[in-house]
C-alpha cells in the first residue's frame, strides 16, 4: 500500500513560522547577523568537514584504481623515501582548500578569528 493515487495528507504540519527567538538588541549588535548568512554557513560547514577529515587520520584517497588521474613523477627525500605519496597529495589538496575557504570567510567576515595554523595567502604585487 502507500501508492496507487491514494491522496493523503502528510503528517508534517505546514511550515508554520517557528517561534522566533527575539534576540536582545545588544546581542544583535554582537552577532551582526553575519553568522546566519547562508553563504558563510556553507563555507563553515565545508571547513568543518575538511577539518574533520584531516584530523580523523583516516586514509585519504582520490578514488578507485583506474578512475584516478596519472600520478606525478615521484619525488624522494635524501633518505630515498618517497615524499609525494598519494596520501600526502590528498592531504595537501585538502589543506589548500581549507586555507582557501578560510580566506573566503575572512573576506566576508573580517571579525572571523582564523585557526592558529592558518597562513594568509601571500599578496602579489
Amino acid at each position: 500500500s502507500g501508492t496507487g493515487g491514494r491522496k493523503r495528507k502528510s503528517r508534517w504540519a505546514d511550515d508554520e513560522p517557528k517561534p522566533v527567538i527575539q534576540l536582545p538588541d545588544f546581542m544583535k549588535d554582537f552577532t551582526g547577523g553575519i553568522e546566519f548568512d547562508p553563504e558563510i554557513q556553507a563555507l563553515n560547514s565545508r571547513l568543518l568537514e575538511i577539518s574533520r577529515k584531516l584530523q580523523s587520520g583516516m586514509l585519504l584517497d582520490d578514488g578507485p584504481e583506474g578512475a584516478r588521474s596519472p600520478s606525478p613523477e615521484p619525488i624522494y627525500d635524501n633518505m630515498g623515501v618517497r615524499i609525494n605519496t598519494r596520501e600526502y597529495r590528498a592531504r595537501e589538496k585538502l589543506n589548500r582548500e581549507r586555507q582557501e575557504i578560510i580566506s573566503q570567510i575572512i573576506k566576508k567576515n573580517p571579525a572571523f578569528k582564523p585557526p592558529a595554523d592558518y597562513r594568509p595567502p601571500k599578496l602579489h604585487k
Binding site: S1, G2, R8, S10, R11, W12, A13, D15, E16, K18, P19, E35, Q41, A42, N44, S45, R46, L47, L48, E49, S51, R52, Q55, I105, A111, F112, K113, P115
Partner: protein, 117 residues
C-alpha cells in the same frame, strides 16, 4: 565568533546523522500502513534539505521486548551541510501534532546500528 570557534573545534557535534525525537508513538509504528505513511512523510519532507542516504525508524518488537531508539527517527544525509540545514528546518516543527526535536547523532553509533544513544 564564539560560534565559529565552536564549529572549528575537533569533535564538534555536527554530523551527517540527524535524530528526531518526540515524533512518533509506538502505536502508530505497530500498524503497517501507518508505518509506511510515516516513512514516506519523512522521506518527502526531510529530503527537501538535501540528499537522504538512509532513514531508520525503529519499530516495536511484536514480542514486547524493548526496541532501542523506539519513538525516534534517524535521518542520514549525504553531508553535514544537509543535516545542518535539516536540523534548522525541522527542529520545532510539528509532526502529527508532536513538536519535533532534532539533534545530531553520532555517525559511528548510527553505522553500527546503535540507536540507543
Amino acid at each position: 565568533i564564539a560560534l565559529q570557534r565552536f564549529m572549528l573545534q575537533p569533535g564538534a557535534p555536527a554530523t551527517k546523522v540527524l535524530c528526531l525525537t518526540e515524533v512518533v508513538t509506538p502505536d502508530e509504528l505497530r500498524d503497517d500502513e501507518d508505518y509506511e505513511d510515516i516513512v514516506e512523510d519523512m522521506r518527502t519532507e526531510c529530503g527537501k534539505f538535501g540528499t537522504l542516504t538512509n532513514v531508520v525508524i525503529p519499530r516495536p518488537n511484536p514480542n514486547g521486548e524493548p526496541t532501542p531508539g523506539l519513538g525516534k527517527v534517524f535521518l542520514e544525509y549525504v553531508d553535514v551541510e544537509s543535516a545542518t540545514k535539516a536540523r534548522q528546518g525541522l527542529n520545532g516543527r510539528k509532526f502529527g501534532g508532536n513538536q519535533v526535536v532534532a539533534v545530531f547523532y553520532s555517525e559511528n553509533k548510527f553505522s553500527e546500528g546503535d540507536y540507543d544513544g
